[in-house]
Amino acid sequence: MLLNALLAYTFLYVPIAVLVLLSFSASRYASIWGGFSLEWYAKLFHNPDISQALLNSLLIAVATTLLATVLGTLAALGLERLPDRQRASHYDTALTLPILVPDIVQGISLLLFFVLVFNGLERALGWRPTLGRTTVTIAHTAFAISYVAVVVRARLSGMDKSLEEAAMDLGADEWQVLRRITLPLIWPGVVSGGLLAFTLSLDEFVITFFTSGPGATTLPIQVWSMVKRGVTPEINALSTLMLVVSVVLVTLSVMLQRRR
């Protein structure tokens, strides 16, 4: 058993460790250790393509987080109160569909949708929008809503309903109950849902690949096109930085979920 587990953790962590180690290598070759150096990180910071990709990624992730958190939280609040259990379960299924449909199918379906809409707009108005940050944000929001709603619903179902009832009995209207009682109680769930949306958007590759067009290269797309040109130590450095950001974000979200 111990040996099994050791092998499994070796399998999980050796490639990551190797990547991180080689990102500090002075060698020009991505797989060879040539002494310690920060050269590749320095190169990374002076690469305008990378700063632009980082900016695109952050703008899209922030917009997605705002949209998906608001829409997903509202959906969770609405679902919690549907009178008809049967109907609620149908909505639940519909809400989890974007989690079940493979990303590549979501990607091509949105590509087709945008192209058809753009064709229609060109014919009607003589103006043709292009794929870019807006289309990527729309696409990311479409899948992130589901994740936020699932997280917030979990928090809602664990909430003590008598507090809402008490506020109602004391004469609060629905809006007051929502703002003063429900939202503060589910707030940790909303924040961790938002964090999840942010992480998902930042890391998303496949759907972005189909909906971004040449104008809105995000970091994962940048990594993809760099790898297609060849394995370089610069990619090692960029990958290491992305891994660090992921680890920080997971740790944050785990800590948030623990604080009940």
């Binding site: 569909l97 493979p102 690949f209």
Partner: protein
């Protein structure tokens, strides 16, 4: 307003659903409908909306059928390997003390949250010619100085990359089912004369069956249509259905109707696996 119980259907709360429903309707369900519609039209520019089943007949081409079969085989191998690595791992973690358990569990989740593109790239660095594996083999004297194991761009590399990507999806549900398991049942079986192996097959396995099935589904579904791993770690002969779809949309010559039909084949295969999941989950329940 005062008399209304908070659990009565209130109009405001129902309206809360509207924005998300609208967004998903326009940007998730309508696009899927478009994929169906385009898969049923003839290829050509400008698009002509004439109904045809021709694109589905075109999938019955030996080259595409090979790709579909290879995808199924690869996804099955990935699922089996994830189970073979994931079950013992989850078992090991559950048996540790509370602190170590949380720590080890967290360690299995980190790769899940890391960028999968980066994780797959890490395997390129390890497996490529003169890569880390080659250097290690030479250092150990298993390989001549200039020789290479040539592991990158093989079907094995693709499966390894997929197992690496999806292993946490298998560990998570199995870990949850093992965590809830009442270990006294195994003790009871052994007291009654069952060997460790019998106790495992008659007690532990049936009771953790739901976790195994859920994990297998969570691995199989995404592994089936992954196109990043075969693109990075596979060669020309390891293309999977995801690559075939991607090429129809982003490489010249484009072929949207065929690409859409292929995407719907993926949906069909996934629906079948979900159906099998419910069937097996139900039967497992009846036995257990």
């Amino acid at each position: 307003m005062l008399q209304t119980s908070p659990y009565a259907p209130t109009r405001m709360r129902t309206w809360c659903l509207a924005p998300a429903a609208l967004w998903l309707g326009i940007f998730a369900f309508l696009p899927l409908g478009i994929v169906v519609a385009i898969s049923l039209t003839e290829r050509g520019s400008p698009m002509t909306w004439a109904f045809t089943l021709h694109n589905y007949a075109r999938i019955a081409d030996p080259l595409l059928l090979t790709i579909v079969a290879r995808s199924l085989w690869t996804a099955c191998a990935t699922t089996a390997l994830c189970l073979a690595i994931g079950y013992p791992l989850a078992y090991f973690i559950v048996q540790r003390g509370p602190h170590l358990r949380t720590m080890l569990y967290f360690l299995t989740l980190v790769p899940l949250w890391s960028n999968s593109l980066v994780l797959t790239y890490a395997w390129m660095v390890v497996l490529r010619v003169d890569g880390v594996v080659d250097q290690a083999a030479r250092w150990l004297g298993w390989l001549e100085t200039q020789a290479s194991l040539n592991w990158l761009y093989t079907p094995g590399a693709v499966v390894a990359g997929l197992v690496y990507w999806y292993l946490p999806f298998m560990v998570y549900p199995i870990y949850s089912s093992l965590e809830k398991f009442d270990w006294r049942l195994v003790e009871a079986a052994q007291d009654l004369g069952a060997s460790r192996v019998t106790a495992f097959f008659k007690v532990l396995l049936p009771l953790t069956w739901p976790g195994i099935l859920a994990g297998s589904l969570l691995v199989f579904i995404p592994a089936l249509s992954n196109f990043v791993v075969p693109q990075f770690l596979g060669g020309a002969k390891t293309a999977l259905i995801g690559n075939a779809i991607q090429e129809r949309f982003l490489s010249q010559p484009q072929d949207w109707p065929l690409g859409s039909a292929l995407a719907l084949i993926v949906i069909l295969l996934i629906s079948l696996s979900i159906w099998a999941y419910f069937k097996f989950a139900h039967e497992g329940h009846a036995v257990g």
